[in-house]
Amino acid sequence: MNATPPDGSPIDAAFVRRWLDTAATVVEREAAALTELDSPIGDADHGTNMRRGFVAARTAVEQEPPDTPGAVLVAVGRQLISTVGGASGPLYGTLLRRAGKQLGDEPAVSAAQFRDALRAGVDGVAQLGGAAPGDKTMLDALFPAVDAMSKALDGGSGTADALAAAAAAADEGAVATTPLRARKGRASYLGERSIGHQDPGATSAALLVTAFADTAREAGA
């Protein structure tokens, strides 16, 4: 396995598995905070949902480690669909499955290929959930992340820098959901009262993107 790929090197199965590890750890740590965010404008389960899904995904992937980055993403996506429930299960499941499928059977892919896969996944989320940017959903972190990654790659950044840019944009996007009025998901029932609270799904999306950036940084990718 390619434990420490050189800067700019391709993204392989081991990389995605390290991401899964990091993401699962972060979700575990932030679960209570995510549930807390889901209390005033939701039903107080987002952290529990995400934790359940990532525990299951990590276990499944550890037991039968797929050997392409695409297959790992598909496996994680399938686990999320089968264990999370709620809105976030099918949405995150679709994000990762679409991204994984887009990567095909390649044993390793470039940052640009990875960006294209993420874009396919994010488009899948938008299509499935019918939400648009500004609706106060996870898309408000995901769209900016893909855009920032694109921009960085176009400007010549390596994988790690491009993913770091994506993470920063996702974070910003999540924070920027606070003043928005929700139009999709459970928070939309609150109407005006959804204003002033950060969206839990956008927050978890930023965590997942940041986990990619951290994985790349630690790998020196």
Binding site: S39, P40, G42, A44, S82, P90, Y189
Partner: protein, 330 residues
Amino acid sequence: MKMLINVPETVVADALRGIAAAHPDLVVDVEHRVIVRKGAPFEGKVGLVSGGGSGHEPLHGGFVGRGMLTAACPGEVFTSPVPDQMARAAAAVDSGAGVLFIVKNYTGDVLNFDMAAELAEDEGVQIAKVLVNDDVAVVDSLYTAGRRGTGATLFVEKIAGAAAEEGAPLDRVAALARQVNESSRSFGVALTACSTPAKGGPTFDLPDGELELGIGIHGEPGRERRPMMTSGEIADFSVDAILEDLRPDAPVLALVNGMGATPLLELYGFAAEVHRVLAERKVPVARTLVGNYVTSLDMAGCSVTLCQADEELLRLYDAPVETPGLSWGN
């Protein structure tokens, strides 16, 4: 917040073991979280599958039995079930006559049932779906995920269940279910927030002198907070909110539903006020059901659901039903 539980993680599995222990007429798959009526599939009969987050008991598991649901899929507390559950349930209840999915209109439920329908159809099961969206508290549907499914679910499950029991074909059962949904409206009020096991405390703050108008059944806050009102004032407000949207031209079925922690004594008093308002508004009432049917864990509060019922709906509503949560006329 104290709860009668072991650990939050096993709440749903523990409850399923209890349902299995108490109801020999139900086949409970604790591992895969599916509750099926014993003897299913029933030759020539449409299967009815519903499901949703746990915490609304007796909905849905308590409505599995003769004349109502054929199977139910409980998710985690306030979290829609996963597609695998509904696909498994569909396979268990399909006699070849097809299966109706009864889905409350929440993003999570809709997405997970949609995925389940794809899985089931891949296995050759014919699936129809009905979306329940009766909650008039959700206005402005351009800017929301649409109206929530709440109390009307009981009427949909009861009436579609009676039709399926009589051997009606899938398109007829589905059409009846849609008619019931379109004829039903609900409005709910919370006096307290509920506490989920995972959170271990109330899901929102509601000071002592105030109530939430227009709540859902997931511990979400409502659309508006007001100083505490009397039972009569709440009845006026709730019924009027419904009648603004639905002017019944037939006698109504009325569900006066408790959210969980409101004593039955109070619910009956509230039912009297609902009847008073309906009489004042000249809406005749055909049937009244009072109790905790579509709950929100330990929330104190109530909801009103009205369903305008033509003679066929009334006949199917009155038809025999024998489930843990609803039973009559057998």
